[in-house]
């Protein structure tokens, strides 16, 4: 496979995952705004922070107001991490790697881009928001379904899966890091309604609220939430799940190519850290420090895989 094709597949998967994650964030933010009477400025600020576009946002807007944030995060063409641009990039990369994709996958991506582009042509009114968000998620799910159902399990597939999981790990870590202070034991005035709402927002942002309550019988605690999102490999958006998957796909790549690469080492080190640590140790050493370290390692892994497989000249 061409190095450039591997790059295109990796980034196609990252951008698609990004569009979906950002949609989920808006959904969680919107949900919070609906369930709270008081000012929700802080929640919308944290949506922008988690989506990683604070500076770009502040270039255009002064306050974190729901309509402005929703518009910026979903539609703004100047927002490189927003849904519009992420899907546009995903589709450009799909066009570039057209020969590596099945017809079903290409059509699903093309269809996702066209229908989301059309629906984002006009500003989104609040009453339309749920429908718009669910359309975006449905489209992303269709692409994922086409990938799962029609692609060969070879290097093409492995690069896409690794891209998805790297992006997802970064996103989950950022969701936790933006709100790490509400998870700290010091601030845990357990049972306060404020914290409950905050915790719910964290879980919702990772599409994890139902599974969390299902597993925990309705008992939420900060430590259990952090444990779930970091260490529970059953949850498809946890850090442990992501690195479990990354090392597995790299192993397959190693089998196919008959040779390992430095990025594999980095991934295994990340995974070992996740299996050897536990949530008590993490809180002891500092949740924020742990997450910052994780994100840096995750980014370093991404850079290394680009070098190992000659993504660029």
């Amino acid at each position: 496979m061409l190095g450039r094709t591997a790059a295109g597949l990796f980034w196609l998967a990252r951008y698609l995952e990004r569009a979906e994650n950002t949609t989920r964030l808006v959904d969680a933010g919107f949900r919070m705004a609906l369930t709270r009477a008081d000012s929700d400025t802080e929640e919308w600020r944290s949506v922008v922070t988690t989506a990683g576009c604070t500076n770009a946002y502040l270039d255009k807007h002064e306050v974190f107001r729901s309509d402005k944030v929703i518009d910026f995060v979903l539609r703004d063409k100047d927002n490189p991490t927003g849904v519009f641009r992420a899907l546009q990039e995903a589709r450009e990369n799909a066009r570039m790697t057209r020969t590596a994709l099945t017809r079903e996958v290409w059509e699903a991506i093309n269809d996702a881009w066209m229908s989301v582009r059309d629906i984002l042509k006009r500003p989104i009114a609040e009453r339309e928001l749920p429908e718009v968000l669910s359309l975006i998620r449905r489209q992303a799910a269709q692409v994922r379904g086409a990938v799962a159902g029609t692609m060969l399990r070879n290097d093409i597939y492995n690069f896409m899966q690794v891209g998805t999981l790297v992006e997802r790990a970064d996103n989950t870590a950022r969701i936790l890091d933006t709100k790490y202070y509400v998870l700290l034991p010091s601030s845990a005035s357990i049972g306060s309604s404020l914290d409950n709402v905050q915790w719910e927002m964290i879980l919702r942002s990772a599409s994890a609220e139902r599974s969390f309550y299902w597993l925990n019988g309705g008992n939420a605690s900060p430590i259990a939430i952090a444990d779930f999102l970091i260490f529970d490999a059953r949850l498809p958006r946890s850090l442990a799940f992501c690195y479990d998957g990354i090392t597995e796909y790299l192993k397959r790549l190693e089998r196919e190519y008959g040779t390992s690469a430095p990025s594999h080492e980095l991934a295994i080190r990340q995974e070992n850290r996740l299996t050897s640590l536990n949530i008590a140790r993490v809180f002891e050493k500092g949740l924020h420090e742990f997450l910052t370290g994780f994100m840096a390692q995750n980014a370093a892994f991404s850079v290394q895989i680009e070098a190992d497989y000659r993504f660029y000249e």
Binding site: G3, R4, T5, R95, M96, T99, N110, D155, Y309, R310
Partner: protein, 477 residues
């Protein structure tokens, strides 16, 4: 509306009686209601958009992706008619290859005085670097798209020999896919020659021209594209995909150990045959345009030393130059010893004094084309042009007569298209696709039928709003 049709219609001939190749189709069509057809037409459009069959239009601020209009009434050619065309095309393509070999070797045709030497020497499409070079397999034009037009039952003319990088073959294939999807019942009772084998034939044909460096192993083929912003990118990706070969850009390639190699996830791997979809000028910044970002530095040197096959060969443009075109009857006769089977459109070379005088006097009746132009740009269709346009063109022509040729306005045949108001005749041309390898010449039974969607218009180019139709060649008459 009572007035006699002045053009030959592929379905209804001159007199409105359904012609034999359309017999079965026309009776099927009669039973279809217009709303049902219009609905199918919308379905086809949605299908094209979803599969991403679009092209980018040059010169538009926002490089928009547009659909080429697709009309679902097929262009049908009888088995017998087709067999005659194929003979003519084979003859012409063989002559073109012989001409190219000659021009880059002994230049017999110039010595014999059949083509003026100046026309070659002063031609930008002539590449002196190709002199004495023998392309692998002896083939110059591996892929040719011969543009034909028809004016009557047996009158076919070659309008252009696209011998550089003919495009449009993906539309031939996708149009057929669409028709199969829309009207499966038609194909079960009308026996139409398939076209889907084209990508396999193309790959085989390219593999047969491996360079000496491939040493008899199955050659590695790649398609070279300028990139996703090129107007024909969809086709480049489509062909690579259908052939099962890599689609590379210039920056994926470099010279390594005397070969052209592509950067893969496992290191640099040699390529044997490159089907390039970029022009000669951009192919090699070391040998041609130094500012080209699209090509591969040094590829021409590797080519000369037998390390790579380039299809079509550099320098083939000299054969489809519009000034050379007018000499095609002589060229065919010179190399095949036979009279040309397909006719050339009579052509005035404006570089010649008498011809220029005639053209200036008859501008309103003629089609005037730039010698090096393509895509329907920079041409004058006399009968359709306004007085002011003719006047403006006259000045350009007087300033640089050598830059133009002129031809009579041909009464292009029509095929009905579906409009909201019903069926209406529109002018068409035909581009069959031809593959050449040491094993021979293969013409895919079908091709691209381009259709001018505007009433009365004779310009079929997609960049000028033209559309396409599926082209059927019948298995038996």
């Amino acid at each position: 509306m009572g007035e006699a049709p002045q053009f030959f219609d592929e379905m209804d001939g001159f007199d409105g009686t359904v012609r034999a190749p359309y017999g079965a189709y026309a009776s099927w069509l009669q039973d279809m209601s217009r709303p049902a057809l219009l609905k199918k037409s919308l379905e086809a459009q949605a299908f094209f958009r979803r599969t991403g069959i679009t092209f980018n239009v040059y010169g538009q601020a926002e490089a928009d992706e547009r659909l080429i209009p697709f009309d679902l009434i097929p262009r049908i050619i009888g088995a017998h008619e087709w067999a005659n065309l194929v003979r003519g095309i084979e003859q012409r393509v063989k002559a073109i290859n012989a001409f190219l070999h000659d021009i880059y070797h002994r230049q017999e045709i110039l010595r014999a005085g059949r083509v003026p030497e100046r026309l070659i020497r002063e031609n930008a499409a002539f590449l002196p670097k190709m002199i004495g070079m023998d392309p692998p397999g002896g083939i110059y034009t591996h892929i040719v798209g011969v543009d034909l037009v028809r004016t009557g039952p047996n009158e076919f003319y070659v309008l252009e020999d696209n011998a550089r990088t003919p495009s449009g073959v993906s539309y031939m294939l996708e149009n057929r896919e669409t028709m199969l999807k829309m009207f499966p019942e038609l194909f079960s009772h009308i026996k139409v020659e398939p076209v889907q084998q084209y990508p396999t034939m193309l790959r085989r044909s390219l593999e047969r021209c491996g360079p000496p460096a491939a040493k008899g192993n199955r050659p590695t083929v790649a398609v070279l594209t300028p990139g996703i912003h090129n107007s024909a990118y969809f086709e480049h990706a489509f062909l690579a995909d259908q052939m099962g070969v890599e689609l590379v850009e210039g920056h994926d390639l470099r010279v390594t150990d005397g070969r052209i190699a592509m950067r893969t996830t496992r290191g640099y791997e040699p390529v044997d045959v490159i089907y390039r979809r970029i022009d000669d000028d951009f192919l090699d910044p070391l040998n041609f345009r130094p500012d080209s970002m699209l090509g591969v530095a040094g590829i021409l040197d590797i080519y000369r030393s037998g390390g790579i096959t380039i299809a079509n060969a550099p320098g083939t443009g000299i054969a489809d130059d519009k000034a050379i075109y007018s000499y095609m009857p002589e060229i065919v006769e010179f190399y095949t010893g036979q009279k040309p089977i397909l006719q050339n459109v009579p052509t005035w070379r404006c570089a010649e004094k008498d011809a220029l005088a005639y053209v200036l006097e008859h501008l309103e009746e003629l089609v005037v084309k730039e010698v090096h132009g393509s895509g329907g740009y920079g041409m004058l269709v006399g009968p359709a042009a306004s007085k002011a346009e003719v006047r403006a063109f006259r000045e350009k022509l007087i300033a640089r007569p050598g830059n133009y040729i002129a031809q009579p306005t041909l009464a292009l045949s029509t095929v009905p298209v579906l409009t909201k108001a019903g069926l209406a005749p529109r002018h068409v041309d035909l581009r069959p696709f031809v593959l050449v390898s040491p094993a021979g010449v293969e013409v895919t039974p079908g091709g691209l039928t381009r259709v001018a969607m505007k009433k009365g218009s004779l310009v079929v180019n997609s960049s000028q709003g033209g559309g396409t139709k599926d082209t059927w060649v019948l298995k038996e008459d």
